[in-house]
């Protein structure tokens, strides 16, 4: 049971890592002018809700299996995702808005956010891996 929880969290975390890398690549494509703002933002906006769901899934799994420390570790990121999604002003075309992305350094802040998330997910990946191995050994 423990092992199953950790295996699914591991898979979830892998998906989140790949997603972060994809976000970083798309944002840096925009910075280097390989794609235009509209194409970039529509690609990124497509993955906002899947990311939110995946992160929420990981958090809930940890909650349900009563691993409090990891749960508390995941909670800020999950709530930040939800906050970011809810706080989008009505007139904007999603979290990534092509008319605003070049203003006020938004591109840089999105890039930073994606990097931080990547680092966080890598950390979580190793935590889950270790815990999964422990769980498998103990079974």
């Amino acid at each position: 049971m423990e092992a199953a929880v950790f295996i699914s969290s591991l898979v979830d975390c892998c998906a989140l890592i790949f997603l972060s890398v994809y976000l970083i690549i798309t944002l840096s494509d925009l910075e280097c002018d390989y794609i235009n703002a509209r194409a970039c933002c529509s690609k990124l906006n497509k993955w906002v809700i899947p990311e939110m769901i995946a992160q929420a899934l990981a958090t809930v799994l940890m909650l349900v299996s009563m691993h409090w420390f990891v749960f508390l570790l995941n909670l800020p990121v999950a709530s930040w995702n939800v906050y970011r999604y809810v706080k989008v002003p009505m007139g904007n075309m999603g979290v990534y808005d092509p008319t605003e992305i070049h203003n006020r350094g938004q591109l840089k802040s999105h890039m930073k956010e994606a990097m931080i998330k990547l680092g966080f997910h890598l950390l979580c990946f190793f935590i889950y891996l270790y815990s999964m191995i422990l769980a498998l050994i103990n079974d």
Binding site: D33, A37, R38, M90, G91, T99, H102
Partner: protein, 854 residues
Amino acid sequence: MRTVLNHTCGDSSSTTTDSASPVPNSYESLEGGGYSGTSLRSPPFGYNYPTMHPAYQQNPAPKPNPSPSHGGYNPPGYQPYSQPFPSLSELSSALGGLGGVSELEAETLRPVNLLQERNILPPKRAPPPEPNLSNDLRKVNCSPDTFRCTLTNIPQTQALLNKARLPLGLLLHPFRDLTLPVITSNTIVRCRSCRTYINPFVSFLDQRRWKCNLCYRVNDVPDEFMYNPVTRSYGEPHKRPEVQNSTVEFIASSDYMLRPPQPAVYLFLLDVSHNAVESGYLNVFCQSLLDNLEKLPGDTRTHIGFVTFDSTVHFYNLQEGLSQPQMLVVSDIDDVFIPTHDSLLVNLKESKELVKDLLNALPGMFTHTRETQSALGPALQAAYKLMSPTGGRVTVFQTQLPTLGAGLLQSREDPNLRSSTKNVLHLGPATDFYKKLALDCSGQQIGVDLFLLSSQYSDLASLACVSKYSAGSVFYYPSFHHIHNTAQKQKFQKDLQRYLTRKIGFEAVMRIRCTKGLSIHTFHGNFFVRSTDLLSLANVNPDSGFAVQMSIEESLADTSLACFQAALLYTSSKGKRRIRVHTLCLPVVSQLSEVFAGADIQAISCLLANMAIDRSISSSLSDARDALVNAVVDCLTAYRANGSNIQPSGLIAPAALRLFPLYVLALLKQKALRTGTSTRLDERVFSMCELKSQPLQQIMRMVHPDLYRIDNMTEQAALHLNDSVIPQPPLLQLTAEKLTREGAFLLDCGSVMYLWVGKCCNETFIRDVLGFQNYASLPSNMTEIPELQTTYSERTRAFISWLLESRTFLPAFHVVKDDASTKTSFFQHLVEDRTESAFSYYEFLLHIQQQMSK
């Protein structure tokens, strides 16, 4: 007297010359301290300074710069002078040049105690500050009407810029009406790495190589460039017109075209609901277009089309050969389709008769309509489909809230909250439909202009998005009615006249490049930012201005000049692809006092207005207002910290920034940013749109209008132009103190002018200029000055036409007598006065002083 102690010379290698110290004793007592040598230069005339507090002696001397009164060439660096001991009289007159400070700079740094100085407004509007460059560079530098920087002395590092607490940015008006040299050569010389166009500020290493002034790369001069067609000489590339003018226009070759240049295509989208017909705009529009049909910019390929809409969308078949225009109605507004493919956008020359028939018939066609709904969204979608193949301009006329179909909007304004002092809500769009549509249009090179002629709330915040991101313009006529509001009707007519006939550029892009080390991080204006410095403008017109904010990424220590280049690639209305290039060059400085000396207060105020509007939409209005006040407080605190030990009482500002608190107070009282006074939401949003998209002169007149007394204008100091004598009354401060009942005053706010006549104004004026016997017989809604043959009338009219000379949109004119609404508007512009919700100017200064002492 100005005193400077330490003399730093920046990048020069000169040393301070102690031997140049003049008569010690009297000098030291004057200066209040010794000084470690300086260079003296004799100015041509004595310049007396107000006595300065000895505390200023800690100021490091700015680099000596050539003053404008000095002829001859001076490189933008320091030239050490060593002079024999001057006499004392020469000395006192030389104090202006003490420490190598030019008079120009010393004048802009002269400390002004704002609390004591009652008359800070100069009698004429101050010209933009001149950058401190050599005369050669100054002559070829870009005109400040086109390209203006908030700081004419660029700080060397970001740290220095942060110390000054002033924003660094550029204000551009790139497509302004002007005559400029057109380069017809086949090769356009550009830098190989950064693609900058060759400009007057590059350096030629030898006759065959040139060094880019933006990225410092050395490029080769192509052979064709060595020949100068103007002087027919060979081997002088620096005499070519591209290198002698900072504003040039190139003819672009086919490398600069993604597709063959498009023809001019104009589509008019007209609201014909009951509301629209009631307001009567259709008559005015049709008449105006009929009068200007010949003058629409374009050539033989120009196309025109009309779409009207109420609860359905109507197209007009104007195929040449038909006996009369044919109306096609599409009632499926959820999935609008184009009924026929060809003849909805027709060639203007070929179908001119049909177009005229349609325009004559249109007002009558809908007089008995009972439709009250408006399907603007579907009409815009139809327009998009119609124009997608070619691109062009769509002009939308809307008179109410769109209530049907895609993009329908709700009424969001609560009339009870109009005078709220707390946050103003609903400043941003309610839906992203119009933004998405604008981006689609921008991608297909369609610009959408919006004329909103409504009397009720129409959610301009959402509707304006369709113009903002497709590089269109927004026009708003609140309470438009062709009978009850003739002033608005006249304004609409005049504006249409300009709008239909002004120059236009299609499928344009603009790129702004800066010297290595500077980068642009925020853009303001109506366009779509396609990539980091590429602005996509579907249409470009001569009446819109843009602003950008910059930051200093790397230190500019190894250059003495910073350059900026704006290149606008567009298709003219005659189908020619052109590139308009403007280049601006400014000196780089390393001292904080020099940064303050070069501050351009009008540009700073406009940039701050743009920033405040962004902040009020993204965060809240009160945040934006606080940020504006903090901008003044921080800047004056930084100035005070720079020149230490100033007397604590009084609010000291350098002369260059003495109008800063006044302009910020005026901004805080603008419709866009004010709280506590009843402001309709649409008017507020429109004021925000104007502040973000107008060129600088218009914004300054809007923010701080010009007030003149015109009943006693004399010929003293008048301008004599082309046999007319134009009186030059001085500018008055915007306070009711300056108004008297015995006078008549003219307030010039840019888009509207008020003539306030005092109750006891002398009857000669009323009779000779306004054409009425006495004050009592003046009508309460006069909107123009009659042309009478009296000297007073001629003089007044000459003055007013001189004011309106270079303006593109003529202002509405109101004679203010008793009419409540014009009276309120007039008095709201007197920004120095106290109102029940806002400070007077003096109180604002005290407030700033209080904040500074925290």
